[in-house]
Symmetry: C2
């Protein structure tokens, strides 16, 4: 009710005939303050809907109880899952979050970084954009004593905590599955190789082939990690199509797109060509045939990222940085 203006500690102090310091202490049950006073203050504070001023707090304590997050694109189910995990853990520990999207754009990432640092976030959780090759903006965070946790797409140049999926093993598993199903000539729609995820998934693909005594062929690897790139490369994909019996795409979006492309051109999935993706996006179960893919535990990864960061912020983290590797799970559906 109380209407317009937010009550401050001084307002409460004045109204109750005590000093601001007493109010401040009473609100946190400081032992110096008598029980009676505590109760009186707290009740009055409640009545006038007192809420601490975060600006004054931040100014005084030199911390914001806020975690900054930079992710490439929030629209991907994996990233939103991670986000939920981070939020839940953070809220539970009294932290808030501030979310920025880089839109896979390096410049935007740098701007976001600055904005978050300007807002004096206590720590950062980041998954780097595809177009980021220079990591100096992350070092700036280190300079300002702001710890960074990288998840999924990490930055090797910077010593930090990391939370990743076992991309290698996930890729190896799903490609092995394709081989077990009888595939011999498996096309890989690869992600950027300067990103750990792209590299690891590629490596897992190669490993699975080797395990089965199949020689990897470089013309069966195409850099192509979005639906629009699938469209852009349709002619080369279609030129390979007659000679292949399987596709492993670096993510579900490309997998769905290539599946559609192949279907439109008369190939039966999985009859002629089996298709597998990576990530288990909700999309995977909505397309036809439903997509065989690799499940990542995004939510748990988010929680763990936040846990690692907050431990460090609260000073109860080991000095050495850690890398948490989450298992990947093969999710067999209809497409392979």
């Amino acid at each position: 009710m109380s209407g317009f203006t937010q009550a401050s500690i001084q307002d409460i102090a004045k109204a109750l005939g005590v000093s601001p310091s007493t109010v401040s202490r009473a609100l946190k049950n400081h032992p110096d303050i008598s029980e009676k006073t505590c109760k009186m203050v707290q009740e009055y504070a409640q009545k006038v809907h007192y809420r601490p001023n975060v600006f004054a707090l931040g100014l005084k304590q030199r911390r914001s109880m806020t975690i900054g997050i930079i992710i490439p694109e929030i629209i991907h189910h994996f990233f939103s899952s991670v986000l939920s995990g981070i939020e839940d853990m953070a809220y539970g520990k009294g932290y808030r979050v501030m979310i920025c999207q880089s839109n896979e754009n390096h410049i935007r990432e740098v701007i976001n970084m600055q904005a978050l640092l300007d807002h004096r976030v206590d720590g950062l959780i980041v998954s780097v954009s595809k177009s980021t090759l220079d990591f100096s903006h992350f070092k700036k965070a280190g300079d300002q004593q702001v710890p960074v946790v990288f998840f999924d797409r990490t930055c090797d140049e910077i010593d930090s905590d990391r939370v990743v999926t076992n991309d290698f093993e996930g890729a190896r598993m799903v490609v092995s599955h394709l081989i077990k199903r009888g595939c011999r000539n498996i096309l890989h729609l690869a992600g950027p190789q300067h990103l750990n995820v792209g590299r690891e998934r590629y490596n897992g693909y190669v490993q699975a082939l080797r395990d089965a005594g199949i020689k990897p062929k470089s013309n069966l690897v195409i850099k192509c990690d979005t639906p629009s790139k699938v469209e852009y490369r349709r002619s080369i994909i279609l030129s390979r199509a007659p000679g292949i019996d399987g596709v492993f795409a670096v993510n579900d979006f490309s997998a769905a797109a290539v599946m559609r492309l192949l279907q439109e051109n008369g190939f039966d999935i999985p009859g002629n060509i089996a298709v597998a993706g990576f990530g288990d996006d909700p999309l995977a179960s909505m397309v036809r045939p439903a997509l065989t893919t690799v499940e990542q535990r995004g939510y748990d990864m988010g929680r763990e990222s936040a846990r690692l960061l907050i431990n460090r912020l609260d000073g109860n983290a080991k000095k050495e940085f850690q890398t948490r590797i989450f298992p990947a799970f093969l999710k067999v559906r209809e497409s392979a």
Copy 2:
């Protein structure tokens, strides 16, 4: 470079042998300060990477230059598009954003609201959660002089600026299209009727039927607005299926889910049953057959929401509240 600690205005003042007030004014080219001093201060500030302290600023100016955003679920493409629109407009006008998800949960929405108010956002842009029936938390924003703009899912009880799609017309168009294609018995998977979007789309559906002289049947309207609800209601949907020749779902997710369900049970889309959705999610073009749907201009709606809000914040808005209605566009693909 400069290492650990962020330089403050006082640090600069001390280093340059001037007063903090001079530095403050020099940094914004105040006419009281000589050109020479301005240049000196600005150059030094640049050198030490001076960045204003948002806490001090917020405390003094009693505004944060930050817009709070509450949306149901960021994972929906529509909402992320709106988000991008808001961000672009806001950044362009010197505002930052703080994003919260309600996850369609009323409690969470209330908490988010309080968190944003605690952070002293200057204004709010909100799309209300499905489970919100009580709007008192929004009134609290009004009490604190924090203007709110509602988009898409509005709140009728509160006088405010609004930005919406012409849901009625969109629904009418797409259902008319179904009818033109020959559909007579069209199932509607409806959203919650306490939300304007659910209601308007339903009304558009009814209007299209009436326009064609078809009598709406209540047993052809099922409340069902997510894939999991489609699953949950599969038996009733399938019991209706033999008698229908079209489906209009309140969003693309449900449309895709129902399409799969029907296909799995031997119905050909669009041969036996035509299916249409709403929203033009990227999903729509990835499923088979590609989904006929209604396009909403999410990005533009985001920009407009931010524009309306910022105009009000900057004091150059008319007193009366406005409602901006964005057109919807029929997007015909393969499913209908």
